[in-house]
Symmetry: C2
Subunit: 211 residues, 2 copies
């Protein structure tokens, strides 16, 4: 079994959504005192590789701990969108995505940021358009992932795209690093931290094949 880590590491000062809480990691106890090493971690629940449940954008929507686990474990299709700035329904249609796709990972030029260790926020990241989100919902996809901090475009349209997905119960997986991942079918695990009532949750996301 070959496991591919598609997670973006959590570290102090890492890029976060504009205005979001910075990541703080601080050692509380140290082995220099002959004890164990223990640290504290303070972060927004939408930091690094993370999952959006309906509650993130839908008033009264399901929180993390009320979600079924199927979206987070099972086969997934990595689909490449080179040279695309906004992924539309037409773009998705053209890719010949398998009809039984239940977990869809969108690989774009955003992954180059992770590959080169870029830590700036870029407003012009590649995202899913509103009609692209509607296509995903129509196709019965359980989870859609993208290689930037948001699946939705920056600015006013962002809420509409989130609501189209989350309102239909489609989970978003955000901030994955798909650089170096070839398009195709994999097994995916991206089980989010079990946060009671959580409106988001960090996760460790990996792909594997049985080869």
């Amino acid at each position: 079994m070959k496991i591919i880590d598609i997670s973006v590491p959590l570290r102090q000062g890492m890029v976060v959504w504009p205005g979001d809480r910075p990541v703080e990691i601080r050692r509380l106890k140290s082995d220099e005192e002959g004890r164990s090493n223990v640290s504290e971690l303070c972060l927004s629940d939408h930091t690094g590789t993370h999952v959006d449940p309906p509650l993130h954008y839908v008033p009264g929507g399901r929180p993390i701990d009320e979600l079924p686990l199927d979206p987070f474990l099972g086969s997934a299709d990595v689909v490449d969108f080179p040279g695309v700035d906004s992924i539309t329904a037409a773009d998705l249609e053209r890719r010949g995505i398998p009809g039984d796709c239940r977990r869809l990972l969108l690989r774009t030029r955003n992954s180059d940021y992770w590959a080169r260790g870029d830590n700036e926020f870029h407003k012009d990241y590649v995202s899913l358009s509103l009609d692209g989100a509607e296509w995903v919902v129509r196709r019965g996809v359980l989870l859609v992932g993208i290689d930037y901090l948001s699946i939705a475009p920056y600015g006013a349209q962002g809420a509409a795209v989130h609501r189209a997905l989350l309102g239909a119960g489609v989970i978003a997986l955000e901030t994955v690093n798909l650089s170096g991942v070839s398009p195709g079918r994999y097994q995916l695990a991206c089980l989010p931290l079990l946060i009671a009532g959580g409106d988001g949750a960090p996760t460790r996301a990996v792909l594997w094949t049985d080869e």
Copy 2:
């Protein structure tokens, strides 16, 4: 595929190791303002269901982000220890644990605490003894999990048990809820958050079978 969640939920005020940082979860943005719901999460990296890498107890040991992923994904054996207070090498030997066991989950009366929502810390939890830890190391197990906040006994002996495991590169998975899980072989995913330099990391742990 039937997925069994063996994670203990993260929530404000949940039981933590004595002296450890309490869990604080606070909403930063709310949909009542027509925006998204976003929260912050502050916790010790050894809170709730979590993983101990060597760095937790071994000076210069490997942190979370330098671990191979094999311990966290693959077949696992759930083994029951009813009526046992400290799991010794003899106890392990008697269980007839399969020779190809690479991930071992110890189910004890500790799981009753999670089943009944007990939120107190109990010093007399069931743990792994030092010779039990040495048995686990000898058998080539990659990861050993237990249903309480520590794999090791409370008090002075705790460091020795941790060091026996972590010093040999055996990962500990702590604070899982195995109540209602029948002994036997499963598939396990317990991929820890990718914390750069992390001396511990929360995880979502699940078991599944292909039935």
